[in-house]
């Protein structure tokens, strides 16, 4: 499902226009990103949580050339699903 489809479905559910949905979306995402940048984590009940995690620097070896390189540390965004969601998705199959 791409972005358009997502927005259309939301718009349909909420009975609002697509543009409005788009606006809300951007608003929502901006808030999320800004709070994540401030090193906060966001938790959505029964869905999951977004968290900023630091990955330490490490030595990685290129498998073909055997070159060793030092990868610097970085911050990444990680998502952890809620157990309810996990059960839902596994209940089906």
């Amino acid at each position: 499902m791409n972005n358009k489809e997502l927005l259309t479905s939301i718009a349909a559910k909420m009975n609002i226009s697509k543009e409005r949905a788009n606006e809300l979306m951007t608003n929502f995402l901006d808030c999320c990103v800004s709070s994540l940048k401030e090193d906060n984590s966001i938790g959505f009940q029964s869905f999951g949580a977004f968290e900023v995690v630091k990955r330490e620097e490490r030595i990685s070896v290129h498998p073909q050339t055997k070159e060793r390189s030092l990868v610097p540390p970085k911050l990444v965004l990680s998502f952890k699903q809620s157990t309810i969601l996990k059960e839902k998705i596994n209940a089906k199959f």
Binding site: M1, N2, N3, L6, S9, I10, K13, M14, A21, E23, L24, M25, T26, N27, F28, L29, C31, C32, V33, S34, S35, L36, K37, E38, D39, N40, S41, I42, G43, F44, Q45, S46, F47, G48, A49, F50, V52, E56, E57, I59, E67, R68, S69, L70, V71, P72, P73, K74, L75, V76, L77, F79, Q81, L85, K86, K88, I89, N90, K92, F93
Partner: protein, 578 residues
């Protein structure tokens, strides 16, 4: 930079603050959004949110693992998992604090520390350097200690020189720092000699006053580098004698090729070129990157001074100081008249350097001895071990026949005992029979006298029981036994009444082993088996822990030498082992 966990409501508040939306709308929006994403994921679809990322449902295969509580092997079944992958824009935004860092290619030997720095360090060359520096430092410390010693002695000499200078040269007004006198005997003696001979003009002429003045000039420059200047000693005749004594002392210790007998002058000549070489060495060494290698190379050379000089020169500061020393010495050394003062100082140096080199040499010799000792100690040990092995082998070889004999003897003894026992009982039986025959009119001739073992089979163990039952049984059975032949022994059913011994079966015990021990041949286990049939159901698998009786048998039955008895036993064996 707080690490708070925000909830939906807080996001809603933020959305409201941003404007343009109310609480209800925002809340609805978020809930609908999540619901839509969930639906899509449940139907196996990926959801791409622009400017954020994609949500996927990922399948994880079943895998083997261990149950945490019980420790049993367990298979974790396959499952789906919701996975989120952020967009590149979002990744950059979040990684802003570390955005400036780049990955770097490493050299092959490098080792990276675990320090958690934001900036990656290029660590490898520094680490290698440290290691090599440590080694160098270790070596340098040894020599620097010696260098310090030598330094002290040189200072003393300087002090001495200055003092003498003060006595003779009137012109000087500049303050010259005088080194503190140490306990060195020679300098002390020289000092005293100086005082005595102040007025001696004869010796003053030896020193060229001009030279001394120029020397002063040099000294002016180097006043700050205190006590590093070797000044010429005003020569007195008595001093000269002491010098000679000292030089002789030096000769006794000297092991270098500079050995020369005779006059001091000869020695001086010998020393001068050495000193010149010293200076060259120092100047050349100063420029090089100093290491222990240089000192090792020069150790091979015969002159002691060179070694010491290089040791000194490993320390850069020392080298500079020495350079000044040698430089000040240099104007004097080529000139004949001044050879004596130089001589003294040289000897001073030599003596002290000698000591240090002696120490070095002793250390070296010790090392060699240790090596030799180690080598020596290894070889004889090895030889000892070898010889021990050989000796043990030889003794074993020679002893085995004896051991075998002993074993055989033991066996025979046992058998003899058994036979003796049987004979004794047989004798008793014989007596009884005789008595009976006397009563009856049965021919005792027919009774085989020696062959009383036949009767034994039917005899109960105690003789008391024999008597009452004897007459009837003997009468009936005797005719049969009269014709007792080998065949009968085998055909007659065996009754096991008497036991030789009682054995307990343990792990590893076998009926054949018992048979061998008691009867002399393993085949005769069959009789043991028969005697204990009730206890042993399967001859192949005898239960451990049970007691079995080793029966007394007709010696003909268990005759290890008789082929017939062996064959019969074999027959029984095949019968039982089907």
């Amino acid at each position: 930079m707080s690490k708070d966990k925000l909830s939906i409501s807080e996001i809603i508040d933020m959305m409201i603050k941003k404007g343009n939306t109310g609480k209800r709308e925002a809340e609805e929006f978020i809930k609908n959004l999540l619901a839509t994403i969930e639906e899509a994921l449940l139907s196996g679809e990926n959801v791409k949110v622009k400017g954020f990322g994609t949500f996927k449902s990922q399948w994880n295969e079943a895998r083997r693992s261990v149950d945490v509580n019980t420790g049993n092997d367990i298979i974790i079944p396959g499952f789906y998992r919701v996975v989120f992958q952020p967009d590149s824009d979002l990744r950059e935004v979040i990684n802003e604090p570390f955005a400036h860092l780049q990955t770097i290619l490493l050299a092959d030997d490098s080792v990276v520390s675990d320090e958690k720095n934001n900036v990656p360090d290029i660590l490898s060359p520094a680490k290698d350097m440290d290691q090599s520096n440590e080694k160098a430092d270790a070596g340098l410390s040894f020599f620097s200690a010696q260098a310090a010693e030598i330094k002290d002695i040189l200072l003393d000499i300087n002090a001495l020189n200055k003092k003498s200078k003060n006595n003779t040269i009137v012109q000087e007004d500049e303050p010259i720092e005088i080194a503190e006198n140490n306990n060195d005997n020679i300098t002390h003696r020289l000092n005293t000699e100086n005082q005595h001979n102040v007025g001696d003009t004869n010796n003053d002429s030896i020193i060229d006053p001009d030279d001394s003045i120029t020397y002063l000039d040099d000294e002016e420059d180097n006043v700050d580098s205190t006590n590093q200047i070797i000044t010429p000693i005003t020569d007195q005749s008595q001093e000269f004698d002491i010098v000679r004594d000292v030089s002789l002392l030096y000769y006794e210790q000297d092991t270098s090729e500079n050995k020369e007998t005779g006059s001091v002058a000869d020695e001086a000549h010998a020393i001068q070129p050495v000193i010149n070489e010293e200076e060259e060495k120092i100047s050349s060494i100063e420029d090089e990157d100093l290491s222990l290698v240089i000192s090792k190379e020069q150790a091979e050379e015969t002159s002691d001074e060179k070694e010491v000089v290089t040791m000194l020169s490993t320390d850069n500061d020392e080298a500079e100081a020495m350079n000044t020393d040698e430089a000040t010495m240099s104007p004097e050394t080529p000139e004949e008249p001044l050879f004596e003062p130089v001589h003294v100082t040289a000897i001073e140096n030599n003596l002290n350097k000698e000591q240090t080199t002696d120490e070095l040499k002793s250390v070296k010799i010790e090392d060699e001895n240790d090596d030799k000792k180690e080598k020596k100690s290894k070889v004889p040990l090895f030889l000892l071990a070898l010889s021990l092995l050989v000796a043990s082998g030889v003794t074993a070889y020679f002893l085995t026949p004896y051991l075998n004999q002993i074993r055989k003897e033991k066996k025979n003894q046992k058998r003899l005992e058994y036979i003796a026992d049987s004979l004794s009982t047989a004798k008793k039986v014989q007596q009884i029979l005789d008595s009976i025959s006397n009563l009856n009119t049965i021919n005792t001739d027919t009774l085989p006298a020696a062959d009383t073992t036949v009767v034994l089979d039917t005899l109960p163990s105690s003789l008391s029981e024999v008597k009452p039952t004897k007459p009837s049984t003997v009468q009936r059975e005797e005719p049969q036994k009269n014709n007792a032949s080998a065949e009968d022994i085998y055909s007659k059913p065996r009754k096991y009444t008497e036991t030789l011994a009682v054995e307990r079966m343990v792990a590893g015990s076998q009926l054949t082993k018992f048979a061998r021990r008691y009867y002399g041949h393993s085949y005769f286990w069959v009789y043991i088996y028969e005697a204990n049939k009730s206890k042993i159901k399967n001859p192949n698998n005898v239960p451990t822990g049970i007691e079995i009786k080793i029966p007394k048998l007709d010696s003909r039955l268990v005759d290890a030498n008789s082929q017939e008895s062996l064959n019969y036993a074999l027959k029984l064996q095949s019968k039982y082992l089907k």
